[in-house]
């Protein structure tokens, strides 16, 4: 090294220049960004889950149609999304970030007594829904919802129901149905599984009497004749799905696994309006319409006051179900 002082100087100058350029670039990229040029979507779940695919479908639709030039998805997994929420709350005033949220997060907030709540973020839009279905194995003696409910009422402890983790839509819906048909939700024998796949084998193998799971996850097994659907949690009959709702069968319970986006606290009214506009434009893209169909998601677009009212109701309802379940 010492033999080539010139080479060494040139080298260090080059390093300094490149580093300086990189810093300047990073600084300008950070400072001048608006939601239209560069948007970060935070999925508060690990890759592969529902929120993650929701974020990535949005990313795809936004990018392909130039709604936003550069969209990135960041995963912050953990505790039903509350880890992501607590990070997001600290990003005050960030006008280039949206977080994916939904019904599962409300349940998780209640369950974990999280210090951050939905009130700490700015809801932008509810975008799509899917629903939970009550299923039994194909060889189960219960042919209809009525058969199942009769058995359930007689022996709530011996009638086990498999589903997603505690506080999930599966769990909340199970509690809600129990309450509506006059079973003490605390007596429900709910067997929690951490993922849809695991819960699914428990249902097919007949480990539990029944299962409550996202309809999309059980649909192929229903089609193949391994599971029998008894009811679906949608409020109204769905045109593409040939399963009667709970309401149609006389149980006044419905619940959507809704997904949407929210912005960080402290953004201005104009910035909020811009986000709403971005989401409305994304919704109209052919890519997004295609994504809805492919994933069997129901369009439930909702913004503004309507959304705020919906959230208020959801939070109150979730609180009371979680209390009923004795958690």
């Amino acid at each position: 090294m010492r033999k080539h002082p010139i080479r060494r100087t040139v080298y260090s100058v080059a390093v300094v220049v490149i580093a300086a350029l990189a810093f300047v670039n990073a600084a300008s990229a950070g400072g001048g960004a608006t939601a239209r040029t560069k948007l970060t979507l935070m999925a508060p779940a690990s890759p592969g889950g529902g929120w993650d695919s929701f974020a990535r479908e949005n990313q795809q639709a936004m990018r392909a149609n130039g709604v936003v030039n550069n969209v990135q998805v960041v995963n912050v997994p953990g505790a039903g999304g509350t880890i992501g929420l607590s990070q997001f709350v600290q990003m005050e005033g960030r006008n280039d970030m949206l977080m994916v949220t939904g019904g599962v997060m409300i349940g998780a907030i209640q369950l974990a007594d999280s210090p951050e709540t939905m009130e700490d973020i700015v809801p932008i839009a509810r975008v799509s829904d899917d629903y939970a279905a009550l299923v039994v194995p194909a060889d189960s003696p219960y042919k209809t919802l009525e058969d199942f409910l009769t058995a359930w009422k007689k022996d709530p402890g011996g009638t086990s129901i498999a589903g997603g983790s505690l506080g999930s839509i599966d769990h909340l819906m199970t509690g809600l149905v129990a309450k509506k048909v006059g079973i003490d939700p605390e007596k429900v024998n709910y067997v929690a599984y951490s993922g849809g796949g695991e819960a699914l084998t428990a249902m097919i193998s007949g480990t539990t009497t029944a299962g409550m799971s996202g309809y999309n996850e059980v649909a192929p097994q229903i089609e193949a004749g391994n599971l029998r659907p008894l009811a679906i949690s949608a409020p109204k009959p769905l045109p593409d799905i040939d399963v009667p709702t709970f309401k149609e069968q006389g149980v006044d319970a419905s619940m959507a696994n809704w997904r949407g986006v929210a912005a960080a606290p402290g953004i201005t009214e104009e910035e909020k309006a811009e986000f709403v506009e971005i989401m409305s434009e994304t919704r109209k893209t052919p890519e997004w319409q295609d994504a809805l169909e492919r994933n069997n998601w129901t369009d439930s677009f909702m913004t503004g006051d309507e959304l705020d009212k919906f959230l208020d109701k959801e939070i109150r309802r979730t609180k009371s179900i979680v209390e009923d379940l004795g958690l």
Binding site: G48, G78, T82, L166, E198, T207
Partner: protein, 511 residues
Amino acid sequence: MESLNLLFDGFADALTPINLLWVVVGAVLGTAVGVLPGLGSAMAVALLLPVTFSLDPTAAFIMFAGVYFGGLFGDSTSGILLNTPGNSSAIASSIEGHKLAKDGRAAKALATAAIGAFIGGLLATTVVVFFAPVLAQMATLFGPAEYFALAAFAFLAISAVVSDSMIKGLAALGIGLALSVVGVDGPSGTSRFTLGLPQLFDGISIIVITVGLLALGEVISVASRIHRDPNHSQIRPSGRPWLRPSEFKKALPAWLRGAGFGLPFGVIPAGGSEVPTFLAYGTEKKLAQRNGDTDFGTTGSIKGLAAPEAASNATAGTAMGALLALGLPTSATAAIMLAAFQQYGLQPGPLLFERGADLVWPLLASMFIGLVVLLVLNLQFAALWAKLLLIPRHYLYASITVLAMLGVYAISSSTIDLWLLLGIGLLGFVMRRYAFPVAPVLIAVILGPLAETELRRALSVSEGDLGVLVSSPFTITLYIVLAAGLIFSAVQHLRRRKAEAQQQDRELVDA
């Protein structure tokens, strides 16, 4: 033989020059993320997903196949060279693999691992081609009672790793169990030992524990002695990456045994590849003890590396079969690949082979192609990778620290994880200093939660009736095998003691 014809049609679709390019790209990317600790193939597939939208389905599948298996070829590379497994599936391979590298046979160890991964993947993919529907049925035979029996069985089968010093082994097992109970308890929702920190609600990630104990623990331990043994400031990588015929002959049965352990596990959700890799490792160690092999735990055993490596890839192969035939994602990678398949109109599930035949056979063919490409790639690079060890220790270990920290931070961008990593690294150092085995900690972290949740699920479904645990032929068989094994080893132990006592007597008499 109909499957064979369909498979050949699949090859015809998949084998085009441009697809071969994609599989190489996928294999290189997969290997790269596999090598980095913490970054798994789930992340790689997620990142690649948008890129593949512009490709036709076959090209996309073939690239995914490269990434999927590439991650599994790569994770053992860093484990062997630096004792920093890239993923939990490579923990068992690292134990003997790193000893081989320390002994100067790094290139050879890498080649053994690559061939093992190839054999495991090849056998598993073949099984999937011919028996996918049977695999699907097997998965549904497993209820919580079966899982619990399996976990109990694995605990004892793996105890070979613990048995060097009973007390130290049990202490390490206890540490592992203590680490594994941290987090919100799934069945009841109670938080345990979370100190009120929401970041701990999901428990301590196995990656953090592995990287902390193995990589950081090693780094601190090396750093503490760097001036005391200056002669060993470098591992000398010598030797060629090729196995001699005699070595090949030695490793072959181990590869096959390992694959045998891995095959059934891929089908079981929640199984993961950790349990079969440790079972394979434990078996090889037991066999070595019986045959009087001394290279286990000293200079490193080729068999002890070959078996778990084959097991981990065999698991991955049949896991893909379960995903396709059942629509059940048994791992995070499988879950995201499920989403990817759906993008292309391939709906994994019981009806896949009837409805999606035009896509599923090229996919299976791509898995074979991916494996071959990865084998060639890894054998070529084995010698090159081994050169990594020529880097002077202080630079090398400093970069391991940086990589370990980066990898762990990349999982969930949480600073708590970094502090945990540091704490567990110190624990690893202390354990090394006082010669506690590290493997039992990892075994407890893997099997403990499995045994606990499944036992509680079984009892919750049966409303507390213990009879449910022995209510199926599978569980009864496992417990009988277990009991027989226990009696056998007890008798053996007593006999050996008697023999030793007699020998001592004789020596006394002679004296």
